[in-house]
Amino acid sequence: MIETLIIGFVLLVIGLFAMLTQKNIIKIILGFSIADTGVHIIIISLGYLKGRTAPIIDSAVSIANSVREVIDPIPSALVLTAIVIGLATTALMLVFAAEIYKKKGSFSIDDYKELKW
């Protein structure tokens, strides 16, 4: 579906732009979350087929004709796990941010020159 594809792409670009331009670590993590959501929407919209229903073959879908009535199940399966993984990695990033804050009391990446070259 082209509309959701555009929305997902716009979210991805906004997220990447935020990650590259922001100095605050928390805002960088927010940018990552936005880009993550954008990627999920892009993958989901690639699997959508117009006028079809969810890939659950119960009484709403005839078993014999199921191939012509359901959407692509593979992108849904990929995004399903990716959402939970995204949650866990975001938590890990926030914990890193909290640990970094304990060292110098600042969230700005300008204050951390150790990895700069």
Binding site: V67, D72, L80, V84, A91
Partner: protein
């Protein structure tokens, strides 16, 4: 200044690279051959109405093991970085309304979570979603009761036992020479019933317990860091 221009240029470059992909996007009319075989195989071979569950648990089962491992590593990192340092802070007591309501709601949330992961092969849902619902129940408990403590030993026991059981089910398939994580080692049952689709409900229940205990662990560690 030069930094900002470079960043803007690289983002614009990315947009230009991927724009043809969106402009020339043509919605497909038919399922790809792979998806078609998954949809047909889910009904005929596995007896599982929910095709997404069949893909996650069976056809892409090895990927799911990898994803559960990533989740485990993220939890490990959170627990490693935020080791419990006892900090006494002034606590305000929670109001009676919140305590009563949450203790009533938590049982319902837990039942809903268990329902979602045991019915993963029949209805929308599954281990990952059910696990997140269970973790949200524990989040409510932690938020509403400041003295609430979850035993780390029980959490890690549930997590490791369900993780081991998940892999053992896969290995039993190898021993019976029907393939790694093939759910037909248990009887397939009648189409559309709870105890059907072979080992899929069992595997998804273990995934649900594992995801639930891991996310509860993350919430618990972050919550104790006040």
């Amino acid at each position: 200044m030069i930094n900002k221009v470079l960043i803007l240029l690289s983002v614009i470059g990315l947009v230009v690279i991927f724009l043809p992909f969106i402009v020339n996007f043509e919605a497909r009319e038919e399922l790809s051959p792979l998806a078609r075989s998954y949809v047909e195989g889910s009904v005929q071979d596995l007896n599982s109405p929910n095709v997404v569950t069949s893909v996650v648990v069976t056809y892409r089962g090895l990927d799911t093991i990898g994803e559960v491992t990533v989740l485990f590593l993220a939890t490990l990192g959170v627990g490693f970085l935020l080791q419990n340092k006892k900090q006494k802070s002034a606590k305000r007591s929670v109001s009676e309304n919140i305590k009563t309501t949450s203790s009533f709601l938590v049982s319902l949330i837990m039942v809903l979570g268990v329902y979602i992961f045991t019915h993963g092969h029949l209805s929308p849902g599954g281990g990952f979603q059910g696990g997140v619902v269970i973790a949200s129940g524990f989040l409510l408990l932690i938020l509403s009761d400041l003295d609430f403590k979850i035993s780390h030993i029980i959490l890690s026991l549930v997590e490791s036992i369900s993780g081991i059981a998940y892999v053992v089910i896969g290995l039993v398939g190898l021993i019976l020479t029907i393939g790694f994580l093939n759910p037909s080692l248990l009887p397939l049952g009648k189409y559309g019933e709870l105890f059907s689709a072979g080992a899929i409900p069992l595997i998804y229940s273990f995934i649900g317990l594992k995801v639930g205990s891991e996310l509860t662990n993350i919430i618990n560690t972050m919550g104790s860091e006040r």
